[in-house]
Symmetry: C2
Subunit: 451 residues, 2 copies
């Protein structure tokens, strides 16, 4: 038979079991946390009618999209989870209760140029809250709490949720008589971290046509720094001159006011006037999240408030607020940086049962008893030498092996060996389950290390 050399397409992540186990834990943290805040799981198709996915049209998206014909149908793979959500809400409007809170963790596709650390298939983990016509500001205030719990769930403490409000920026540009240029200005200011103040100033003057003085005012404004209280106080100095600005300031105050009630420590949150998010459709609070010791990674969780989720499908105003985590890229970067906690057990099972007798029925019963107690057990039944069996346990990194020989069976016990310490105890199946679960619980640590 002619054989085909197996390969996985470049730009597609395919993990080995131990890495995948860590990815699964991250997904479980996301599912659990999103659920705690009352978000419904949603699962939309990967394939959609191309005409619908590309309703907004234009630009980079269209070039990157996976689009193809099947029969008479013009199909495309989703390139984000927001467009499918817009379609879903417009399509099922009458069957949904608003505010509609949904989370979706799913793969999206972008045929980008292959490049190290760039993925063509990657997970996004999104939440959105959609209102019917209106949406209270408290929904925007709640988002940092959710981001906080997610990253704490990952085991991190050294991260910062940076928040701004687009109305403050628009209003401020309005004060300078630059309302019409506010989109261009925000997109330029958004590059501050990457290109620095001088270049931003140059683009504002040369490309956006601002005066030196206007550019100076803007740079002075976004240079406002300090504690949340200090920044808010500085902003109050601008109040009363532009309605949009004042509205934005009131919103930002509402978002910051309840932070401690939401359990978000001051050090994990910052009002940051440089955050603008490039996209035009954000209209209120905007969020970015950075790992304090790894600013080079950029924002790991971003989003904001928008006024019209589904304008391409319905004339109903559907305002919302949402955030997205680029999970595949985050995982890749954490792994590259050596931040995934290797000490965390990532074996496919907690215990490997090794039968030492011809008749394996006692070993089978032992394995089932342990499983019923919640221990993940593999029964190793291959006909191999003892050394090879133990070497299999080492290779999969199993925390415990359990030997069951004639002696143990006669006593109604089993021998449990801690593979890390070498410590071995003989005990009943029930004791073994407790011993293992306790040991696993003690060995539990953060998913991601900080160093």
């Amino acid at each position: 038979m002619e054989r085909i050399t197996p390969r996985t397409l470049s730009g597609f992540m395919e993990l080995l079991p131990a890495k995948q186990a860590k990815m699964e834990k991250m997904m479980q943290v996301l599912r659990d946390t999103y659920s705690l805040y009352g978000f419904s799981a949603l699962d939309t198709p990967v394939i959609e009618d191309a005409k619908i996915l590309l309703a907004k049209g234009g630009g980079e998206t269209e070039k990157q999209i996976y689009r193809f014909q099947k029969g008479d149908s013009d199909l495309a793979l989703r390139f984000d989870l927001t467009v499918p959500l817009a379609k879903y809400v417009a399509l099922h409007y009458n069957e949904l209760a608003f505010p509609f809170r949904r989370y979706q963790i799913g793969k999206v596709y972008r045929g980008e140029r292959a490049q190290r650390g760039r993925f063509r298939e990657f997970y996004q983990a999104d939440i959105d809250i959609i209102g019917d016509g209106k949406l209270d500001i408290m929904n925007e205030a709640e988002i940092p709490a959710i981001i906080y719990r997610v990253f704490r769930g990952f085991g991190l403490t050294r991260f910062q949720i940076r928040v701004n409000n687009r109305k403050i920026l628009s209003g401020f540009y309005g004060m300078l008589g630059l309302s019409e240029k506010s989109g261009d200005i925000m997109r330029t200011v958004d590059k501050l971290d990457k290109i620095g103040a001088e270049k931003v100033s140059a683009i504002l003057v040369d490309d956006c046509g601002l005066t030196d003085q206007q550019a100076g005012e803007i740079l002075k404004f976004i240079a406002i720094r300090g504690t949340n209280a200090e920044v808010l106080s500085a902003l109050e100095g601008y109040a009363g001159r532009n309605e949009i600005f004042d509205l934005g300031l009131a919103e930002l105050q509402a978002v910051t006011k309840n932070l401690s009630a939401f359990g978000v420590p001051e050090e994990n949150f910052a009002v940051d006037l440089t955050i603008a998010r490039g996209l035009d459709y954000y209209t209120g609070t905007v969020y970015e999240t950075t790992l304090l010791d790894h600013p080079e990674i950029g924002s790991v969780c971003s989003g904001g408030r928008y006024d019209n989720l589904a304008e391409f499908y319905t004339d109903r105003p559907l305002p919302g607020v949402g955030i997205s985590i680029g999970l595949t890229r985050l995982f890749y970067v954490l792994d590259e940086q050596g931040l995934l906690n290797d000490k965390l057990p990532s074996a496919p099972c907690d215990a490997l049962v090794l039968p030492m007798t011809e008749d394996v029925s006692k070993a089978v019963a032992l394995a089932e008893t342990l499983r019923s107690a919640g221990v993940r057990v593999q029964l190793y039944s291959e006909q191999k030498k003892f050394k090879q069996k133990m070497s299999y346990g080492d290779k999969i990194g199993v925390p415990y092996t359990i030997l069951l020989g004639e002696d143990e069976i006669a006593e109604g016990k089993c021998s449990v060996k801690n593979m890390a310490t070498g410590e071995q105890v003989k005990c009943t199946p029930e004791e073994a389950a407790n011993h293992i679960l306790q040991g696993l619980s003690d060995a539990n640590g953060p998913l991601i290390l900080e160093k």
Copy 2:
């Protein structure tokens, strides 16, 4: 703006939130159960090189596949999870420990003719155990235990795991001098349930070229019925005449011998000589699972033992055993038949907190306290009349609402209302969490009803 009418492609399942909640629970049962038996989660790309996916080539598969060009690449969407597993194991052979046990719950794609209850995008939930050169029979014996736990986890008791062994069939056809026709015969016999004995007999004689006597012997053989012990005993009557048969019988005995140690009750398991599975690549134990009160659904979990997982990619013999659940189809049919338990809470949250004061900080803190105790809470902060707030709670089917007014705040308490019974209690946040978790636990029932 010109609007595009939103739609979801036909043949693609897209559920409303309450239904999706049930689907998520089924997936959680699958993940948990597969993990208990030591299977690693695996996540392979949805898109693969078309040449690799179609290495086996031929037939229906090629017609149904979603295949397209992107740049110079000839790509295809996976149509099952077995071919990607074969690629994965061949590709990562040196990095895996064998036996390699993996589960994968993922979407696969087949461009079938659109038809009610037929899906073009659907979930498969697979497990496989792959050996390196050899694989002990105990792995085959363990599969029914896993199937049993999965369906019990779904809340079912009235199901039957039907097991046969292809070697018994091959060996028996060998006794009749029909070895070369055994593939054709098995595919024909496999239709017994659908077309009946008479038509099977006619095809065996007319199309397969058997004598009437041979067809009669086969029908007599597969008509063997009774308890597992009775069927095995009847099979022993054929022993000693064909080596393959004898080997198959020994395997079947090993699979049935440990059933009670594995905790599988006799009534959920049957040796059934009519089970053959059409596919040629099964070589040992084969499995089907039927819902006893819904035979019309057909098998809801099938699989078997095979000798060469990855013969198209490697010359290494990689025997294995695996099963697959067509989750999307199963969910669809259960829903159609009204078997999904509607009484089971499927709201996005367990409790809806309704702040009754201007300052919502106490309500926020209450919500966070409840979440930290594990209660899924939505804080309802829209500016609506009380009646509209309660009506939102009704619409999402929330089990509890929690009112927090001036009185409650003054007392350090909150009012918890059970939405099903109308019962209302005033208690501290900690008591509220316990009250709600206890109530949810009492209301817990099977995912799937039997009737």
